[in-house]
């Protein structure tokens, strides 16, 4: 199929439709509104449900309701709107129904601004609502990847009866790139066995997030944890660039992940052996793969469009064996290669001075460890 030029938000919407979305509920907010607009144009023509709700609270609860009958339901918003959805997300998680949520992040905290940011990492990766659970969080760095990820999202959501989040930022939503749009997916007519499809001739199903009694609720939690372990074992995605001989590693996701590619190429031209590790699933995080890599390199630089949120995860994975430093911009400012390269130099300097007069201590120590 020939490549076409698509804007990120519209590409996400169209790819969601081709992935099988049947119902969309949302409320406009910049910088993701084009996603909602595309749905409003397309879905009525396709005989699907588009509904602009009165608020983000309403939209996420409409998603919840549609999901209980086994419909492929989704919503999209941007940071402040996603904050409003936290309660509903937690109910959906506890009820174990599938849902797809797109968060096109903008600058925060508060109403902040409408420029790009990655400030929702904690909010979306750590739980997305109260309680012990995680959504599957997919972080595209190009529009093609956004399409490919959302194209898989309903299958993942239904396979695990979980929330799947596409976590991208305003710049990916607003930019245009040549992409290939996939074909419409075929889904079976039949709804999953757990869905509320009318109880004629069978025992009624109950879908609820209310579990009175500690024993019952702990059982649910244990089941959720088991499911999370399964997702962790099966669904980790990441990408590496020039890591084979790397002495230093940049870890970055989403838009910063692609910007860091430019930084890596420029640093390589200057003879610095640096590679890139780009997590695609932020949850489950590629812990083992990154840990293995931190055993081979001498220092890690984490680059983000926030104050250092994924940074905490990378530090935990490196377990203090090597220096892990951070560079980032906030408030809607995008870190460019010119920001990342000086931070890389600082890292290299600190590794060298740390190793001081010892000839090749870092590697030797880690190999023997």
């Amino acid at each position: 199929m020939a490549k076409e030029l698509w804007k990120g938000n519209e590409a996400l919407a169209e790819a969601a439709l081709r992935a099988g979305a049947e119902a969309y509920f949302g409320y406009p907010i910049t910088p993701q509104t084009e996603l909602l607009e595309h749905m409003s144009r397309r879905m009525p023509k396709l005989g699907l449900t588009f509904l602009q709700a009165e608020s983000e609270l309403a939209s996420i609860n409409m998603v919840y309701g549609a999901a209980t009958v086994g419909a492929r339901a989704m919503t999209s918003s941007s940071s402040p709107g996603i904050s409003l959805m936290q309660e509903g997300l937690s109910y959906i998680a506890a009820s174990e129904v599938p849902a797809v949520v797109v968060d096109i992040m903008r600058g925060g905290p508060g109403l902040g601004n409408i420029q790009p940011s990655q400030g929702d990492y904690f909010q979306m990766v750590k739980t997305a609502g109260h309680g012990d659970y995680h959504a599957i969080v997919l972080a595209p760095s190009t529009i093609q990847e956004a399409i490919d990820l959302i194209y898989d999202s309903f299958e993942l959501a239904f396979k695990y009866r979980t929330i799947v989040t596409i976590l991208a930022d305003g710049s990916l939503g607003q930019m245009m790139e040549p992409v290939e749009m996939p074909e419409f997916k075929e889904w079976p007519e039949e709804r999953p066995g757990w869905a509320l499809t009318g109880a004629k001739g069978r025992e009624p199903h109950t879908i609820s997030s209310l579990y009175l009694g500690a024993e019952n609720l702990e059982k649910l939690n244990l089941r959720l944890q088991k499911k999370l372990a399964e997702i962790k074992a099966n669904e980790v995605r990441y990408e590496t660039l020039m890591t084979d001989d790397a002495e230093f590693l940049i870890v970055a996701f989403g838009t910063v992940g692609r910007i860091a590619q430019s930084a890596v190429r420029q640093a390589r031209e200057n003879g610095v052996k640096v590679g890139l590790f780009r997590p695609i699933t932020l949850w489950p995080f590629a812990e083992e793969e990154l840990m293995a890599m931190t055993r081979r390199v001498r220092g890690v630089l984490v680059a983000e469009m926030n104050a250092g949120q994924m940074f905490e995860d990378v530090k935990a994975i490196a377990q203090g064996r090597i220096p892990v430093q951070f560079t980032g911009r906030m408030g809607g400012t995008i870190p460019l290669p010119d920001d990342i390269l000086p931070a890389l130099d600082t890292l290299i300097d600190s590794v060298r001075s740390r190793n001081g007069n010892k000839p090749e201590p870092t590697r030797a120590r880690e190999v023997s460890a």
């Binding site: 930019m175 692609r258 590619q261």
Partner: protein
């Protein structure tokens, strides 16, 4: 090869569309390309810009601090972007609206009376295409014909009647840039003299 271009002008001058046109043409030519607009609480009459990155390899950063080329359609754009054009880069300025001399001597500059040329073709709104023509003539970004085809394929339906005028404006812009085309003095000397 990877080149970054910023198109900038008043809202309504068509800077964003000129960038999109180049992006479509790059796509048709089989290049990797990104287009990213300035977006924000923009004001009517305020300045809008977009960044286009064209390359033979997948594009990493869609944004740059120092662009290889800038197309500045008005004075605020020229003031904002002239200082950040990459050394030995190219600045294409709308001389109809920018009456000041070019300050930098370490970049090439084309001062083209884009509004006046556009007016000659009956529509001041063709100024964006005139400037794109000049940019293409002065660089090896893409052949003019590819952009011409992109115009044919991607000019919004409601503007299709303007296709011949758009094509003519594109060529006129290119022709103007060619008349300035360098001898060993390059555009630089030209900018200096203005």
């Amino acid at each position: 090869m990877e080149k970054s271009i910023i198109f900038s002008g008043f809202g309504g001058q068509g800077a964003l569309f000129a960038g999109q046109l180049l992006t479509y043409a790059a796509l048709d030519a089989g290049k990797h390309v990104t287009w990213i607009p300035s977006y924000g609480p923009e004001m009517r009459g305020g300045t809008a810009h977009c960044t286009v990155v064209v390359g033979d390899e997948p594009i990493g950063s869609p944004l740059v601090r120092n662009p290889d080329m800038v197309v500045a359609m008005n004075l605020p754009s020229a003031d904002k972007y002239e200082p950040i054009v990459k050394e030995n880069g190219l600045l294409v300025v709308n001389g109809s609206l920018v009456k000041r001399p070019i300050h930098r001597y370490d970049i090439d500059a084309i001062v083209i009376p884009a509004n006046d040329i556009a007016q000659d073709y009956g529509n001041i709104r063709l100024a964006n295409v005139v400037m794109l023509g000049a940019l293409l003539a002065a660089t090896e970004l893409l052949p003019l014909e590819v952009v011409e085809q992109a115009l044919e394929d991607h000019l919004p339906e409601r503007h299709k009647r303007l296709l011949p005028a758009n094509k003519a404006a594109l060529h006129e812009g290119a022709q103007f840039a060619r008349t300035m085309l360098p001898t060993e003095d390059g555009f630089r000397a030209r900018a200096e003299k203005k």
